[in-house]
């Protein structure tokens, strides 16, 4: 197994060999749905990452857009221009490029919110499960109350309150962080409850007692020894939460209380395009909409599969 004489390359080989030998990989290969959705999600994430290389223009650089190109339909319609595959908006921005840059922001907000939620939720879950007693009771009561409201409503309320506390000039700049904060706070409960119940069943096991007997501190036991054993379900929740976080962000941006038009996410693009729906320029709003559906659907399907694959009852 792992020893000091192994080079880094060997370790990577070892790890990947273990991965390709695992049940998860086997189940992945058996499920066409999981493979397709993983493929779609991977393509969309890569496209967003390499947006500056793939996009024909930077739609937010005024020097690169031309009002003469405004409101062009997609290339397969009459008046379509081969330079703009999915058409242009009212300011002459290429829709395909705005989608690439927009999904970049959507994905960033999604991942950041999941990471923050996960840290808060797992932290409180570990604390709640290991400490028990009054700490546990307080944290779980708060979780119960929060769980009785839909996450999207909580995110909207937090976002609305913070926007009113901040001065108006700061909205544009801080909108990204405000929305990440709002979505993170709305999503920690699932992580906390799951981790708490796993910790409760782990902490009576012998390895934990052994740790206590040799005098390890509570923090060491929880972080070094219990945490790695309760992470499985956390990944499942994280994947499904990513889809939800992207949808919540898009919804808030669509409602006009999310990201501003200067740093548009997919939701902002849909909001902007929605104003042109009635004048027949459907492509400005529908294509970003499809990108959003594709992203949310593929991540959701991946999460569904992961949940089944990690569920020992279904093996």
């Amino acid at each position: 197994m792992v020893n000091a004489s192994m080079t880094i390359l060997d370790r990577i080989k070892d790890a990947s060999a273990r991965f390709f030998d695992s049940d998860i990989w086997y189940s992945f290969k058996q499920s066409p749905g999981a493979m397709i959705s993983a493929g779609v999600a991977a393509i969309m994430i890569l496209a967003a990452l390499f947006a500056p290389l793939l996009a024909s223009q930077n739609p937010f650089d005024l020097a690169q857009i031309d009002l003469m190109d405004a409101s062009m339909p997609p290339v397969w319609m009459i008046d379509g221009d081969p330079r703009f595959v999915l058409g242009t908006d009212d300011q002459g921005r290429d829709i395909f490029s705005t989608i690439l840059y927009g999904s970049r922001i959507s994905l960033f907000v999604g991942f950041a919110s999941v990471v923050v939620s996960l840290i808060i939720g797992v932290g409180l879950g570990l604390l709640s499960g290991y400490a028990g007693g009054r700490t546990d009771a307080i944290i779980m009561r708060i979780a119960d109350v929060q769980l009785s409201f839909p996450a999207i409503l909580i995110a909207l309320l937090i976002d609305g309150i913070i926007r009113n506390i901040l001065p108006k000039e700061a909205h544009g700049e801080l909108a990204l962080y405000v929305i990440i904060f709002a979505i993170s706070i709305s999503g920690w409960v699932q992580y906390a409850r799951t981790v708490r119940s796993s910790v409760m069943s782990e902490k009576v096991k012998e390895y934990v007692q052994a740790g206590q007997v040799i005098g390890l501190s509570g923090i060491t036991i929880v972080i070094r020894h219990i945490l790695p054993n309760v992470l499985g379900p956390v990944f499942v929740i994280g994947t499904i939460h990513l889809a939800l976080a992207i949808i919540i962000e898009a919804t808030l941006s669509f409602l006009g209380v999310g990201l501003p038009p200067t740093t548009p996410s997919l939701g902002t693009l849909i909001r902007i395009g929605n104003e042109y729906l009635f004048s027949g320029e459907w492509w400005i709003t529908i294509f970003p909409g499809f990108a959003l559906i594709l992203l949310a659907l593929s991540v959701n399907l991946l999460g569904d599969w992961l949940r089944d694959a990690l569920n020992p009852k279904l093996r």
Binding site: A243, T251, L255, I270, I293
Partner: protein, 327 residues
């Protein structure tokens, strides 16, 4: 049972107090209430007088108690923007939201339950696969996109249905209803479908899961052994036992329908409470925000309380004299 109800009521009161506290903090400490009420040319002395009259110099808890007392009577002061009592604004908008939510809830139930039962009974049929795929897409489709797609298709391309507003409404006392005019009913169609779709997929999946669970149980096997027909097994015995969780979840979903109405109302410019709230956020109209916060929390708390109590009441296994099942 009694202990359980008392415990839940105390918990609900705490939740309401916490929400009222947040609403109060926002109302009192975000911006200056006096500046928001008076014009530019009001003298400093007048401002001081107003400050005193409003009781803004009183100790914190006195102010909070006054706020909570007024809130309990439904008084939240004047809207900064509309210059009208917040209570009147909300009462004016309430019927629009409630009618939309009611139609959506009925739609979700009437379609969701039979679809759930069907997909559980005919697990292999093509229609079942269709329903299941649709529900998966439904879960990933954000509400506002469903609305936009419906508007594009039925409003812009086919021009069959109106895409914004309530149409003509009829006043019945303080309640304005869209149920009594053709244009009011037509205006309801697209928004209510938009709002119902997500809840429908949820109900369908729940009914299916519960039904599959019940169909595996011994009393169903026994029923079959006794020679009962499919219809009797499915509808008289199996469905009856799936209804308890379905009632609970549907009850809880009622609250989220009212919350999701914010999005639907925004897409269709439906003049309800949600639209009022979204506008209040972007206009920093704090009294309206505070009032909406308290109102929506109240709706959720009451629904949760009623559902919890009903749940214990309906399911005899949770009763017992030891007091309180889960809690």
């Amino acid at each position: 049972m009694f202990n359980f109800i008392v415990k839940r009521i105390i918990q609900s009161v705490f939740v309401m107090l916490a929400v009222a506290f947040i609403a109060f903090g926002m109302f009192r400490y975000v911006g200056d209430p006096v500046n928001n009420m008076v014009g530019q040319d009001t003298s400093l002395a007048d401002r001081e007088q107003l400050r005193k009259d409003l009781g803004l110099d009183d100790p914190f808890f006195v102010q909070f108690a006054r706020f909570a007392g007024k809130a309990a009577k439904g008084e939240f002061g004047l809207s900064y923007r509309h210059r009208l009592p917040v209570r009147d604004l909300i009462i004016e908008r309430l019927p629009a939201t409630l009618e939309l939510s009611f139609v959506s809830a009925v739609l979700a139930l009437v379609l969701g339950v039979p679809m759930g039962v069907y997909t559980a009974i005919r697990r292999k049929s093509l229609l079942t696969k269709g329903f299941m795929t649709m529900s998966l897409i439904g879960v990933s489709l954000p509400t506002f996109l469903i609305g936009i797609l419906l508007i594009l298709f039925f409003g812009v391309v086919l021009r069959w249905l109106p895409t914004f507003g309530r149409g003509e409404v009829v006043q019945l006392g303080w309640w304005s209803t869209g149920f009594l005019t053709i244009s009011g009913l037509k205006a309801l169609i697209l928004p209510s479908i938009t709002l119902a779709l997500f809840q429908m997929t949820l109900i369908m999946r729940l009914v299916r899961a519960e039904m599959l669970e019940v169909l595996r149980m011994d009393f169903i096997k026994f029923g079959r052994a006794r020679g009962l027909g499919n219809a009797s097994i499915f509808y008289r015995h199996a469905m009856k036992n799936t209804l308890i969780p379905v009632i609970t979840v549907t009850g809880l979903q009622l609250g989220s329908i009212i919350a999701f109405a914010i999005i639907t109302e925004s897409v269709f410019q439906w003049p309800g409470m949600g639209l009022l709230f979204i506008q209040a956020i972007s206009e920093a109209d704090l009294p309206i925000m505070a009032a909406y916060l308290v109102l929506i929390a109240l709706i959720f708390v009451v629904i949760n309380l009623v559902v919890d109590v009903l749940y214990v009441y309906v399911d005899p296994r949770l009763r017992g004299d030891s007091g309180g099942g889960h809690g």
